[in-house]
C-alpha cells in the first residue's frame, strides 16, 4: 500500500505502519480491516465545520497537533482505587489503550462469560472477534472511526453467551497518562451479547498525572442478539486538557433492548457519538445522557438513531449543565427507514445555562421514510428556576446549597433512568463531588493547553 505522507495527516501514517510492523501476527482479516480504515482516513482527513455533522465542533486543535502513540506504561493499583466501582462484577484496566492484566480483576464472572483484552481475543482467534469486529462501525461516515480502525490494536472484549446473566456491572477502566509530548490512544471495544443475554458494561475514561495533551479516540461496537438486554455506561472523567472522541455503535436484533448512559464531565474537547441501529423487529433503545461543562470545555453529543425494522422504539433523554465559557452541543438525529413502520421515537434535550457566557446548540433532525410512525422531539434551554430556589431557601437552605441541590435534582433525572443500583450509587457520588467545582463558575484547572486549544479552534 503506497502512502504519500501529507502535512494534515501528521504522524498517523507512521503510527499505522509502526503498528503493522509490531503486530506481525495480525490475521489477514484484521490487516484488511485496518487498511480499509487507514485508506478512508487518508482520503478524507479530519472533518471541518463545513461538514454538517461537525457544524458546531471545530476539531482543528486535534488536526493541528502531532500526537505520538502513547507508550505502554504501568501505574500502581493504589492510584486506580478512587475510580474502582464498588460492587462491580470485575474491573478490566487499560493503560494508554493497552490491557493491563496485572491491574485487572476478573475473577467471579459466570461460566462462559469472557471479559478481557480485545488484542488477546484476536491473538487467540476468538470466533466472535472475527465475526463481529468492524462489521458495524461506519468508517466511511466518520473519520475518527476510520482512524480508530486504522490504529486498532487493543481495547475491551466482552462476550456473553446465550442466556448469560451478569447482574453486577462489568467495568472497563481506561487510563490516560499524559506524557512529555502530546500522545494518543485509540482503544477499541467489542461487546457481543448472544440471544437473551443480560449485562451492564461500563467504560470509564480517566487521566492520571499531569503532562501534555492526551487524545483518546475510542470506538465500541455492541452487538445485542435476539432478546438480549444490555446497558452500556460511558463515564468521561479525563482532565481538562484531554481531547476525547468516543463512538458507541450498537446493533440490535429482534426484541433486543439496549440502553446507553453517558455521563460526560471531563475533557477539554469532547465528542460523544451514540449510534444504535434497531435492526430487528420490536427492538428498543434508551439513550440517556448528562453532560456538565465549565471553564472552556466543549462537549458535543451526537446521536444517530436508526430504525430499520417495524415496531421498534427509541427514547433519548439528554440533560446538559453549562457554566463559565463552556459550550455544549446536542445533535439528535433519528432516521426511520422505509420498512420501519410503527416506529415510536422520542427525543428530549434539556439544558441549564449557569452563566451568560455559556452556550448550547441543540439540533433535532428527523428523517422519516416510513408513513406510519410516531416521532417527537423537544428541547429546552433555561436557568435555575427562581421559584424553586426561593422555595428551598424559605426552608432554611442557603442560596449556594439550594442552587447545588437544584443542579443535583436536574442531574438526578438522568440517574433515575439507570436500572443498575451499583452504577446509580457510584455516579451519584461522582456527580455530587463534581458539582461544587462547576457552580462556582471557575474551572478547577485551567491549563495552558486549554488556552492553546481555544486559539487553534
Amino acid at each position: 500500500m503506497a502512502i504519500a505522507t501529507t502535512e494534515p495527516l501528521r504522524g498517523y501514517p507512521e503510527a499505522f505502519f509502526e503498528l503493522d510492523s509490531r503486530a506481525l501476527r495480525q490475521p489477514a482479516w484484521l490487516r484488511e480491516l485496518r487498511e480499509r480504515g487507514f485508506a478512508r482516513f487518508r482520503d478524507v482527513g479530519f472533518p471541518t465545520t463545513r461538514n454538517e455533522d461537525w457544524r458546531f465542533t471545530n476539531v482543528n486543535a486535534i488536526a493541528q497537533t502531532a500526537f505520538q502513540p502513547a507508550p505502554a506504561q504501568s501505574v500502581t493499583f493504589a492510584a486506580l482505587e478512587p475510580f474502582l466501582i464498588p460492587g462491580a462484577a470485575c474491573h478490566l484496566v487499560f493503560v494508554n489503550g493497552q490491557y493491563a492484566a496485572r491491574l485487572s480483576r476478573i475473577a467471579g464472572l459466570p461460566a462462559g462469560v469472557e471479559a478481557g483484552s480485545l488484542g488477546e481475543a484476536i491473538q487467540n482467534n476468538r470466533k466472535p472477534a472475527e465475526s463481529h469486529l468492524g462489521r458495524y462501525l461506519n468508517v466511511e461516515r466518520d473519520a475518527f472511526c476510520a482512524l480508530n480502525t486504522a490504529l486498532l490494536e487493543d481495547g475491551g472484549y466482552v462476550y456473553l453467551p446465550r442466556r448469560a446473566d451478569v447482574e453486577a456491572p462489568i467495568c472497563l477502566l481506561f487510563v490516560s497518562l499524559p506524557g512529555t509530548i502530546p500522545s494518543m490512544a485509540h482503544p477499541r471495544t467489542l461487546i457481543v451479547a448472544e440471544d437473551e443475554a443480560q449485562a451492564s458494561i461500563v467504560e470509564q475514561y480517566i487521566s492520571l498525572g499531569a503532562g501534555e495533551v492526551f487524545f483518546s479516540n475510542s470506538a465500541t461496537e455492541l452487538v445485542a442478539g435476539e432478546g438480549a438486554v444490555v446497558s452500556h455506561y460511558l463515564v468521561e472523567r479525563q482532565d481538562r486538557n484531554a481531547f476525547k472522541i468516543s463512538t458507541l455503535r450498537s446493533e440490535q436484533a429482534r426484541s433486543a433492548n439496549v440502553t446507553s448512559h453517558s455521563i460526560l464531565l471531563g475533557g477539554a474537547l469532547v465528542r460523544n457519538n451514540v449510534h444504535p441501529v434497531l435492526a430487528g423487529e420490536g427492538s428498543e433503545c434508551l439513550i440517556n445522557g448528562l453532560f456538565i461543562a465549565a471553564g472552556k470545555q466543549h462537549i458535543d453529543n451526537y446521536m444517530l438513531v436508526e430504525h430499520a425494522r417495524p415496531h421498534s422504539s427509541s427514547r433519548q433523554f439528554y440533560n446538559g449543565i453549562l457554566d463559565g465559557h463552556s459550550r455544549g452541543v446536542f445533535h439528535g438525529r433519528i432516521i426511520v427507514h422505509k420498512d420501519a413502520q410503527k416506529t415510536d421515537a422520542k427525543q428530549t434535550n434539556r439544558n441549564l445555562l449557569l452563566s451568560d457566557d455559556a452556550q448550547i446548540d441543540t439540533k433535532p433532525q428527523l428523517e422519516i421514510y416510513a408513513d406510519d410512525v410516531k416521532c417527537t422531539h423537544g428541547a429546552t434551554i433555561g436557568q435555575v428556576e427562581e421559584n424553586a430556589l426561593f422555595y428551598l431557601r424559605s426552608r432554611g437552605i442557603s442560596e449556594g446549597a439550594a442552587r447545588r441541590l437544584l443542579l443535583l435534582a436536574f442531574a438526578n433525572e438522568c440517574l433515575e433512568r439507570m436500572k443498575c443500583p451499583v452504577m446509580r450509587a457510584y455516579l451519584e457520588g461522582v456527580i455530587q463531588a463534581w458539582l461544587p467545582a462547576t457552580s462556582t463558575g471557575a474551572p478547577p484547572e485551567a491549563g495552558e493547553i486549554e488556552r492553546r486549544w481555544e486559539e487553534a479552534g
Binding site: A388, R393, R395, E399
Partner: protein, 255 residues
C-alpha cells in the same frame, strides 16, 4: 417582647403599591387570622415576611424576635424560626421529599448550633409527622411535590412545618382548593402545632378554615391595610355580610 411586630409596612412590586401601611403584633401562643378579598395584599404580606425578594419594601419595619426581619435573607428568616406554607407549593423533580426535608432541617439545626441528623435518625421523625397528616410513606421517596394532587401538596407543606417546628408559622391560603376531608386533616395538623411558645398566622380568603382552627384574633386586610381587627366572631360576621361590609368602614376609618 412580641414575637412579630409589623410597623407601617409598605411594599410594592413593579411600581404597583400593594402594602400601604400594615401594623400587626403577634405574640407567642397566639393564632391570628388575616382575611381579605382578592388583591388586598394578604399573600404579599406572607411573602414579604418569608423574604421573597421580588417585593420592594418602601417603608416600615418588621421585628421578628426583636431582630430586623427585613434585612434577612429567606434562609436566615427560616433559620430564625419563621415558616411559610406556600399557597402554590413548588414541584422539584429529581429530589426526594425525604432528602429535601433532611437538608432543610439540618440547615436549621446547624444554625442553632445543634448536631445534624443522619438519615437513620431523621426517617423515624419524618414518618411520625407524616402519620399525623395521613400521608402515605411512599411520599418519602417521591420527588418534592411532583405529581402530587393539590391536597397532597398542602398536606406536604404542613408535614414540613411539623418537621421544622418553627416559632412562627404562616399559612398562605392553605385552605383554598381543599375538599372538606383534606381541610380537616390540615386543620388537625395545625391544631397539633399550637403551643404557648409558637405563633400562627393564617392567611385566608374564606371563613371555612376558621371553623376548624379557631383563631384568637381576626384582622381584615383591605387595599393593603388592616381595616378591622377583632375576635373569632369577626370572621363569622364577615362570612355573613361579605367584605363589602368592612370596606366602606375602612374608607371612613382613613378619614
Amino acid at each position: 417582647m412580641s414575637m412579630l411586630e409589623i410597623k407601617n409596612l409598605h411594599a410594592k412590586i413593579n411600581n404597583h403599591f400593594i402594602l400601604k401601611g400594615v401594623d400587626l403584633v403577634v405574640n407567642a401562643g397566639e393564632v391570628h387570622s388575616i382575611m381579605g378579598p382578592n388583591g388586598s395584599g394578604k399573600s404579599t404580606l406572607a411573602q414579604v415576611l418569608a423574604r421573597r425578594e421580588t417585593y420592594e419594601i418602601t417603608a416600615g419595619e418588621v421585628l421578628f424576635g426583636g431582630k430586623d426581619l427585613l434585612s434577612m435573607k429567606p434562609e436566615e428568616v427560616a433559620c430564625e424560626g419563621l415558616f411559610m406554607a406556600f399557597q402554590y407549593p413548588i414541584e422539584i423533580p429529581g429530589i426526594s421529599n425525604a432528602y429535601f426535608l433532611r437538608a432543610a432541617l439540618n440547615a436549621i439545626r446547624k444554625f442553632r448550633g445543634e448536631e445534624e441528623l443522619d438519615a437513620m435518625d431523621f426517617l423515624p421523625l419524618l414518618k411520625d409527622k407524616m402519620r399525623l397528616l395521613d400521608m402515605d410513606e411512599r411520599f418519602l421517596n417521591r420527588a418534592v411535590n411532583e405529581g402530587f394532587s393539590g391536597g397532597e401538596k398542602k398536606r406536604n407543606e404542613i408535614v414540613q412545618m411539623a418537621v421544622l417546628e418553627p416559632r412562627l408559622a404562616i399559612l398562605d391560603e392553605t385552605d383554598s382548593g381543599l375538599d372538606i376531608d383534606a381541610l380537616r386533616i390540615v386543620a388537625k395538623g395545625v391544631n397539633l402545632m399550637r403551643r404557648p411558645d409558637r405563633g400562627i398566622l393564617l392567611v385566608t380568603h374564606y371563613q371555612r378554615l376558621l371553623n376548624y382552627i379557631v383563631p384568637d384574633f381576626v384582622h381584615v386586610l383591605v387595599d393593603g391595610k388592616i381595616v378591622k381587627s377583632g375576635g373569632p366572631e369577626l370572621a363569622l360576621e364577615l362570612e355573613e355580610k361579605g367584605y363589602g361590609w368592612a370596606e366602606p368602614e375602612a374608607a371612613t376609618a382613613i378619614r
